[in-house]
Symmetry: C2
Subunit: 252 residues, 2 copies
DNA sequence: AAGGTCTATTGGTATGACCATAAGCGCCCA
DNA sequence: TGGGCGCTTATGGTCATACCAATAGACCTT
């Protein structure tokens, strides 16, 4: 039988139209979407767990009774959503992934970037998040956190001395700082808002060379306040620290 | 010529291996991904704008020099990312969509839901966002905003009187409140954190019937404070309002 | 003029084949 | 005996072709 098989195209059935008193809302969705929903549900219900491997595409075809194209579209969607990782080769296949903080953060950043979020808006959002998380940080930062933060401050001083200071070091500080809140939701949100921000901000930082030393000093003061569990003082420092950036963005 | 075409499988070329002094990093990505990148770039650069229609799949195949399957996978990914909307039928095709606030918010909510964000974490994040946005609201809320908020409060009172009060009314209040900040980034973030929260919280609200009147009163007080542009007072009200919820979650 | 019907356009799906990749196994040679 | 080279195999990636389904607009009928 040459290419001419038993396809009936969409999943809409003509069988459901007759006999049932109320006309059931005809299933108008793509078959691949149905598969996506099914797999996603299994993952959410933890019947499929991170690390698990799905059957090979060809076997999934048989099980779902669809063609490989359809299965592949479903897998592609799930992969795009960060639920699966697909590897080629002998022991390859579709593996359930645990959405990592980074991955989720990237996804949010993408969404924000692609929507019409201006630099000013992103800056405000960042200010709210980063200032708001300071009390949590003061409460929860442990010795490791403090040590890491101080290490970053040291490297900042070194970089300033040699003229190597870059915005990356500052970003690293804030990134690590967010970890200190010990709350992954807060961490992801603040991480993801930083992406679009950096993109809009671009190289503005480098056009303000005086920012380096001042910013670095504030970082260190902030660490001290955190070490003292002085939420009030720490919050105030953070507010000023970010407020300066905010004003600069507004003048852009 | 029966199915046996000119396929060379991956995009890796055997042609680039010879002749070039340095071995170019072999292109190891999927062809469909390359197409995705290309289209996404066009959208980001606004060479493709919301509402624009891409050429039909079959034409894209010719232009890219790939098969329809590949083009379709790319389109599916872009659709999943909320960049395209695909319509079937005569004047159908792939249309560039403007990621709406709702859509982006849903995407973020999905990501947060699928990651391991606990109710406690989500509650904290929400508290930070919603308390932090209050000053913005006090500064920017216009007459329409106030009127809408008061309308919601009125309906809450009615609902309380008739016993119809539900968590949805409260959610509507907070949703509208976020709009008053006139910052789409903040709005999206706070919206998206509310999704996972409601899911974990479930029906807890209904098990605390005394919450209704108290919460509704606080809503109204909040509106008054906003009307007076009293950021300090409004912030304090919001902090208490959400703080009670936060404590309840912790006791869960 | 109102309504239904035809047709062209376009996405959705099915088949079958072949290529590329990567892991495992075993053979061959040193 | 040890190490590397090549085969085998499992699996995803891609291609080509064909047909179905949905939709809009033109066209025709009444």
């Amino acid at each position: 039988m040459p290419p001419q098989g038993k396809q009936d195209g969409r999943a809409s059935g003509t069988a459901a139209d007759v006999g049932s008193g109320l006309f059931n809302p005809v299933n108008d969705r793509r078959i691949s979407e149905l598969i996506v929903d099914q797999v996603r549900l299994l993952i959410r219900q933890q019947q499929l767990n991170p690390g698990d491997r799905l059957p090979p595409e060809r076997e999934l075809c048989e099980r779902f009774g669809v063609s490989r194209v359809t299965v592949r579209e479903a897998l592609r969607v799930l992969e795009t959503n960060g639920l699966l990782e697909i590897r080629v080769g002998a022991r390859g296949g579709a593996f359930v992934t645990k959405p990592s903080k980074e991955r989720v953060g990237e996804g949010i950043a993408d969404l924000l970037t692609l929507s019409a979020v201006s630099a000013a808006e992103a800056t405000e959002a960042r200010l709210i998040l980063e200032v708001g998380m300071v009390p949590l940080i003061c409460e929860r930062a442990d010795e490791d956190d403090i040590a890491d933060l101080q290490d970053i401050c040291d490297r900042q001083d070194d970089a300033l001395a040699t003229g190597d200071y870059s915005i990356n070091l500052s970003a690293e500080f804030h990134e690590r700082l967010a970890e200190c809140a010990h709350n992954s939701a807060v961490q992801m949100l603040s991480h993801s808002i930083r992406g679009p921000l950096l993109m809009s901000l671009g190289r503005a930082q480098q056009t303000a060379p005086e920012m380096g030393p001042v910013g670095a000093n504030e970082h260190r003061e902030l660490v001290h306040a955190i070490q003292d569990h002085d939420a009030t003082k720490a919050t105030e420092i953070m507010r000023q620290h970010l407020g300066r950036t905010a004003r600069r963005v507004k003048n852009l």
